[in-house]
């Protein structure tokens, strides 16, 4: 178990993966440096399959940098990342990304309507790509229009928005379009980088409910960076606390939030109380 070997004396609670959960990702000694600054410093971490894992920590802790490594938007300078028992670099990168989808902090709308945005995920591949994992594969013969409707339903997007220009949507609607677009490739993993940071609290709550339901119904692995600790507490199964590029606490969300005794980590976890 990778986490058991976390070599920091100041670490808070460090739990192995609960029994019954297997690792979707395993990070071993992952180090990331940007512009001469160490962003991640020997991260050892297991991310469970089919659950929601929240990455929390103060600004600059390396949360987004870690997330970007999981579908190879960036590569680490050293260390290994294993995805479903194979080194992440052994997958063709385009197939990996179709299986490990990414939702960005600021929603990005492509030119055109909501339908155009969603169908872009199907047509831009140039050819139908075979998923590198065998879960949630689209049904045979399912046409683009049906997949658009299905993805919109999964992301709880109003079907009447289908022909609306993407730029005319609200922030919450745009983020749902981005989630729906990410779901178009039937991914196994959904990486979400502070998806609610620009949304009203009510909209953010509804989006988190959607995320929770997606994880449960689609058996989707969700890794979510959030600066809202209440969101992590309510939505995630597992919580990882990062500080200065190191994992300082990790385990079941309830245990991390209730049983952490390290004063510094405790103070951070209590900031929203």
């Amino acid at each position: 178990m990778a986490l058991g070997a976390q070599p920091h004396n100041e670490a808070g609670i460090i739990q192995p993966l609960p029994s019954g959960l297997t690792a979707a990702f395993t990070l071993k000694g992952v180090r990331q440096v940007k512009d001469g600054i160490t962003i991640l410093d020997g991260v050892e971490l297991d991310i469970p399959h089919g659950a929601i894992t929240a990455l929390v920590g103060p600004s600059g802790a390396g949360k987004t940098s870690l997330l970007r490594l999981l579908n190879r938007l960036d590569d680490p300078v050293s260390g290994d990342i294993v995805y479903r028992s194979r080194a992440i670099t052994h997958y063709p990168v385009r197939e990996l990304r179709r299986n490990v989808a990414f939702v960005f902090q600021t929603p990005v709308m492509f030119p055109g309507t909501v339908r155009d945005n969603l169908q872009a995920a199907l047509t831009l591949g140039g050819r139908a790509l075979r998923p590198c994992a065998d879960t949630v594969a689209p049904a045979a013969g399912q046409d683009a229009e049906r997949r658009v409707a299905a993805a919109m339903a999964l992301a709880e997007l109003d079907g009447t928005l289908c022909d609306r220009d993407g730029d005319r949507l609200s922030g919450g609607q745009k983020q749902r379009v981005n989630i729906a677009r990410a779901l178009m490739t039937s991914p196994d993993v959904l990486l979400m980088d502070e998806p609610t940071s620009a949304l009203h609290p009510e909209t953010a709550d509804r989006l988190m409910e959607t995320t929770r339901r997606l994880s449960q119904e689609q058996h989707l692995t969700v890794v979510m960076v959030t600066h809202r600790l209440s969101e992590a507490r309510r939505t995630s199964d597992m919580t990882v606390v990062l500080e200065h590029g190191r994992v300082v606490a990790m385990g079941r969300t309830a245990d991390v939030f209730e049983n952490t005794t390290n004063p510094r980590i405790r103070a951070f976890l209590d900031t929203e109380r």
Binding site: K34, D75, R94, R98, A120
Partner: protein, 276 residues
Amino acid sequence: MPPFVESSAMASRSILEVSWFDLAWAGGLMLIAVGISHWQKLGLAQRLVIGALRTVVQLMLVGYVLVSLFALDRWYLVGVALLGMLLVATKAAVNRQFRASRTLLMITGVAMLLASGFTLLYISTLVVRVTPWYNPQYLIPLFGMIVGSAMNAAAIAAERLASEMAARAAEIEAYLALGTTAQQASQHPVRQALRAALMPTVNGLMVVGIVTLPGMMTGQILAGASPLIAIRYQIVVAFMQAAAVAITTTIVTLWYRRTFFTAALQLKVPTNAAAA
């Protein structure tokens, strides 16, 4: 020799020669520009004077070089001259870039070599039918006009692509994250760069003869050629410049784009997303 070249002799008139004394009078016009700079405190007077002196010296040198090349009439000397023009133009195009690099220098140089070389070959063999094939009287001015257009287009294309890639970094990463190729992810920046680089040529084709009288055509008319001959040459020049610009722009844009991505389809342009 093509028919319209022959007929130019029939239509030629006597040339009014500009003497050195006449040039001194022309220099008086520069004094107006210097005077305005001084009056409005623009701080450009010295640079205007230096610029005027450089214009005189550089053009005199070019004049003597061309006279020597025409007199010597050697294919290898013409080749050296064309290569020199290409190298200077390449350097000038890259020096304007914010992201100047040796890679961009190579890309621009190769693009301009291929585009200008092909266009000159096409024009000199199929259109103007230059004899002998290296005749410097034709090749050097034609190549100068081709390379000049290609240089501007290459500079605009590279600059626009770099700025669009930076401005659209989030969009490009969103495409990449869906599993697209680098070509698909950067389709909009590439389109913008191509359009920006081609637009001056398109606009030029639209207004030529109406808003502007091109320098080459004006020069021929001043030198005594019939306007009907001059316009035919000018049409050839317009078409060859359009071709050179299109080829250069395409090569620079598509090749330069590759430098913005790693082998693992990662965007090299810095993004804010990675900061957290």
